[in-house]
């Protein structure tokens, strides 16, 4: 049974959903692709929400059109600790095992991915990594062990960098780590990496296969390239401690991957 049926959500074909929080001036623009909504947690801020999930190519075009609309209005986006970008990755067609394999792959890479999202995002309360809030990992392991979906939908996990509550609303995993940014190319690269991670993780048989793959990869860089392709260089550039980050991520991910002895009949 796939995620869509498991969680009883409506069918969505687009791969990516994006929400961009912004603070600054002259921000109120609407385009064909984007809705704009107020956000009480921001100071003079708004949130741009992609009206419909789209392909990666569609996301690129939507980001360009938003950038042009903002420039046309003379908008000024400022750096702020309050803003962030949330990317939803559609996992409706994945089986539960494939979804956990994706999550395991993400957890191994989480330290490096979060570094890419911005120094201030590491340990940030709105997108806590597995190592910052281990309750999240324990809960994922319980979800695997018991098959009780409440562990995934519990609102207590919403402020982790990977939010599983959205499985129940959209059949997506929400990634919350990216900083608020006026650099829409970075946002596109972030979405592309997450989508690649989803797709490449399907080449592994199970979450345990991810851990074994990491152990056999002969170093963090090779494993990274296997999962995010040429965009690995974006992570390598900002992570001089890449091997350590990935090793620590692997240790967190192990608790999910080995929550059950075997995934054969999961």
């Amino acid at each position: 049974m796939n995620i869509r049926n498991k969680f009883g959500v409506g069918k969505t074909t687009g791969a990516i959903g994006i929400e961009i929080e912004a603070e600054g001036r002259n921000l109120f623009v609407r385009t064909e692709e984007w809705d704009v909504v107020g956000d009480g947690s921001l100071e003079d801020g708004v949130e741009y929400v992609l009206r419909e999930p789209t392909s990666l190519k569609g996301a690129k075009s939507a980001l360009v059109s938003l950038q042009e609309a903002l420039a046309g209005r003379g908008a000024v986006l400022k750096q702020s600790a309050r803003t962030s970008v949330h990317v939803h990755v559609n996992v409706q067609s994945l089986s539960m095992k494939e979804m956990y394999t994706f999550v395991t792959a993400y957890l191994v890479l989480e330290g490096a991915l979060t570094r890419f999202c911005g120094k201030d995002r590491e340990g940030n309360l709105f997108c806590l990594r597995a190592g910052d809030a281990e309750y999240r990992v324990a809960s994922l392991a319980n979800a695997v062990r018991t098959k009780d979906l409440d562990y995934l939908l519990d609102d207590n996990h919403r402020y982790s960098a990977i939010n599983t509550c959205s499985l129940g609303r959209f059949g997506s995993l929400e990634f919350r780590a990216m900083r608020g940014s006026a650099d829409f190319n970075t946002i596109h690269n972030w979405a592309a990496m997450l989508l690649l991670l989803r797709n490449k993780s399907r080449l592994f048989d199970s979450p345990q296969d991810i851990i074994k793959g990491f152990s056999l990869s002969g170093g963090g860089e090779a494993f990274l390239r296997k999962l995010v392709g040429k965009r690995a260089s974006l992570l390598i550039e900002v992570c001089p401690d890449l091997d350590e980050l990935l090793f620590n991520g692997m240790r967190q991910a192990q608790d999910v991957a080995y929550a059950i002895p075997s995934w054969e009949n999961y």
Binding site: S80, A81, R82, D120, E122, G123, N124, L125, L128, G131, D132, A133, E134, Y135, R136, A138, D155, N156, H157, R158, Y159, S160, I211, R251, Q254, D255, A257, Y258, P261
Partner: protein
Amino acid sequence: MRYDSTAYANSRLAGTIVKCAGKAVYVSECFGERLAKIRVLPHGNEDVVNLDNLDLSPIKLGYVNIGGCAEYLQRIPKRRDWRQGLRANNVNNAGVLDKGAAFLVNPTYPTPEKVVDRVFRCGDESMAFSRHFSARYDGCIRHKGRQSVGEVCLDDEDHASWKLYDDFLYLEEALKEALDEHKK
């Protein structure tokens, strides 16, 4: 991490525990020109410091030995909390938060030999020898506070052997590191 206003900093930090100068501190309030009133944990003095001197990176949590028991402390990524620091509302074990945070900023664990002595011979309920591993009076090895992952047994000469159950052999490397840590 740097907050652009004292009011915003106060909304994220007041009533929580963060780090300052290598110690865990409780932030009572942020006020004035980027100032914070703090108290060093667990029983230190009050002080006033510049907001920029607070270290807002997460305190790495794990086991803390308190009152003859190994208690595991972990953060919950709660939505309706909105605080950067630790507080009773966003951890799993609020009763040990103050002492635990103070200890875990710079933890020193007893050796595995000492742990065996305390739980098998001195009547302690349990004791941790690393951030992620502890032993219990009945010989259970516990990992991250939530399950028995193996057994510690004493042979005729009172030497301890640490053995993981088959389902937890993936922890072998981590356990070995934790046991060997004290030999360095």
